[in-house]
Amino acid sequence: MSKYRLYLLISTISIAIFGARMVNGRDIKLTTINILMPAPFADSTSKSIERFNNTHKGNIKIKVTKGPRETESVSDLAISNLLLGNSTYDIILMDVTWLPKYASAGWLMPLDSWFVRKDLKELAPGARLGNRFKNKLYRWPLVADMGLLYWRKDLMSSPPKTPYELIKLTEKLISQGKVKYGYVWQGRQYEGLSCVFLELIEGFGGKWLSKTNEVGLNNKEAKEVASWLRDLIERGITPASVTNFSEPEALQAFKSGEAALMRNWPYAYAELQKEDSNVKNKIGITTMISKKGGETTSTLGSWGFVVLKTSKHPDKAIKVIKFLTSETSQRDLFISYGYTPTKASLYKDKNLLETSPILPELARALEATKPRPETPFYAQLSDILQRELSSILTGQNNVEDAMNNAHSKTVKILRSSGAYR
């Protein structure tokens, strides 16, 4: 009897060890794809990711690192990680403006061999922008984002189309006592101010930075934009406190019903339709005003996936990206979270058109998108512009001097970077 027990014990132990080996063996075959995403995206994609992990059990497992909420903080986290050499991430969900910088730092893997012409054609026109650097594809878009002009349907029959109309209309509304402010936007010294400027300079017929690296900040149009923004504050159409307004402050002013117009991103629509909003069902969206000679422009936001050069499993990473940017996933994101799709077909999708009244406007805005200057030195250029614009808006400096300053500093940066060689 005791001998029998001994055999039993030995066999149990050997089965246990063998079994563990088997599980380990399977572990080695399992590939984990690490993705860094800003917190809101990590939350909204969690369902799709769960679905993916379930269907690829034992083969690929997506692990999401939930980054900070704030856009630039995600970049800080990514850069700190990349600087250490062997990044822990395979994929990063990236804002449109980071791409040239990351690409020229040599951190990104070109994706041209995985995404063919057909794939590109499926993208909505606006979503095709901001994914390339020096003729190579580095990024595949998940969510399109663009600057929009929100207007109050209860106060006007149609939104203003030109700078002149905007001033005339809002001044009338203010003098009639219908609103406290005419137009709220992002005037704080930060990236949002550059976005506001880009839309206007294009709309006024100027250029911040041309394709041939010509800087247009000391041109008539650029100065007109700066003067016009300053004028809005001086006329009381925009509150003077706009110089510390980012998106939440502008949204708060518009949501309370005290402003007639607002510049913001698509996310604001859902916020304005909430129960606590004073303007629920009273809002329309359109693109930014423009003048003769310019064209109405939306600043391209948009988030997309990049694969890091250090990733050991690029093929599997691409598989993950293709899954997460598929029509199904994007439809989900739009319905549940209002994230603007990048696939052209979704803009004609009957179901989506029924659930969202603003989809046609979004499609139109997406066609009007333009990216911010696509250079590795964009952060410096934007910083220079923000500083000078902020000094104009707060009355610290006059338009002429400040814009000339911005111009010469921008040229200096580009020159030292060898842009004109």
Partner: protein, 289 residues
């Protein structure tokens, strides 16, 4: 032989302090940015020459010093008052002490965000109060000549409790007997503050001062969240400028130069503060016989 016991601590300090400093110094002598493909290339001190002629560095140095001097100065005085109040025998003083510490326990970013909304024009309470008493449209955080005051107020609100705690600990080491003996000798409350409290609190005052100066000099998150350095760069600190260079511009050579320069200035400031405080408090014992 006794010095052998210091070796672990010294090694740790070298590792934690020395290594980054040497690394900063080394980087500050190199160009290391997107232009060099992030490779460090020796550049003959060009970063330092650039720093000296960089108006923005000097402006930020001025703004950082202004922030540090005003916030730490106000904090020290307020904290002393609070510590003196809390040192009294009060009913349920424990509760007051805990309440006083609350601001300090809050994460800086959260409290900075709250202050941004408190100062918000036109929806923040401060603006509404200012409107009531006749100051219309001050736009504190949107006004380049006032925004720094807003950041100082927020910093004072947040950090005063911390100094108050240090000073309270110091006050509790002073025996009550000393005050009573001095009272019997004819010392007024003001005199006992000057001749007993201040000199005996000196080590704690110095601790708070140096600690806070160093912290305030490196202010980053509070300003980043409240104003982002604006409006018109009027609140930008050295730490923000250095951060911009490193994380946004990927210019690590210049960023290290700014960091190292502000570190050296900070050492100088702390030493001066130390000497000034020692001199001031020593003046209370001028009557050598």
């Amino acid at each position: 032989m006794n010095y052998l016991l210091l070796i672990p601590a010294t090694l740790l300090l070298l590792l934690v302090f020395g290594f980054p400093l040497i690394r900063y110094f080394w980087l500050s002598l190199h160009a290391s940015s997107v232009l060099t493909g992030l490779e460090p290339i020796y550049n003959n001190g060009a970063n330092w020459i650039r720093l000296i002629s960089d108006g923005r560095f000097w402006q930020d140095l001025y703004q950082t010093s202004r922030f540090a001097v005003f916030s730490v100065g106000i904090e020290m005085i307020l904290a002393l008052v609070i510590a003196l109040l809390l040192n009294n025998e009060w009913k349920s003083k424990q509760i007051y002490r805990s309440i006083t510490l609350l601001p300090w326990a809050l994460p800086t970013t959260i409290m900075a965000l709250s202050w941004r909304w408190i100062f918000n024009t036109p929806y923040g309470p401060i603006d509404q109060i200012l409107n009531l008493i006749g100051f219309n449209n001050l736009n504190i955080l949107s006004n380049p000549s006032l925004a720094w005051v807003g950041t100082v107020i927020a910093d004072v609100w947040k950090t005063t409790p911390f100094i108050a705690l240090i000073l309270l600990a110091g006050l509790q080491t002073i025996p009550v007997d000393l005050y009573e003996a001095f009272r019997l000798e004819g010392g007024s409350p003001k005199q006992s503050f000057l001749y007993i409290t201040l000199p005996l609190l000196k080590p704690y005052l110095l601790l708070g001062l140096i600690f806070r100066l160093a912290q305030a000099f490196g202010v980053f998150d509070l300003i980043q969240v409240m104003t982002g350095g604006g409006p018109a760069s009027s609140t930008e600190s050295l730490a923000i400028y250095s951060y911009l260079n490193a994380m946004r511009f990927l210019d690590f050579g210049y960023s290290s130069t700014i960091m190292l320069a502000s570190f050296m200035i900070l050492i100088f400031v702390c030493l001066s503060a130390y000497i000034v405080t020692i001199t001031i408090t020593n003046n209370f014992r001028r009557y050598k016989l």
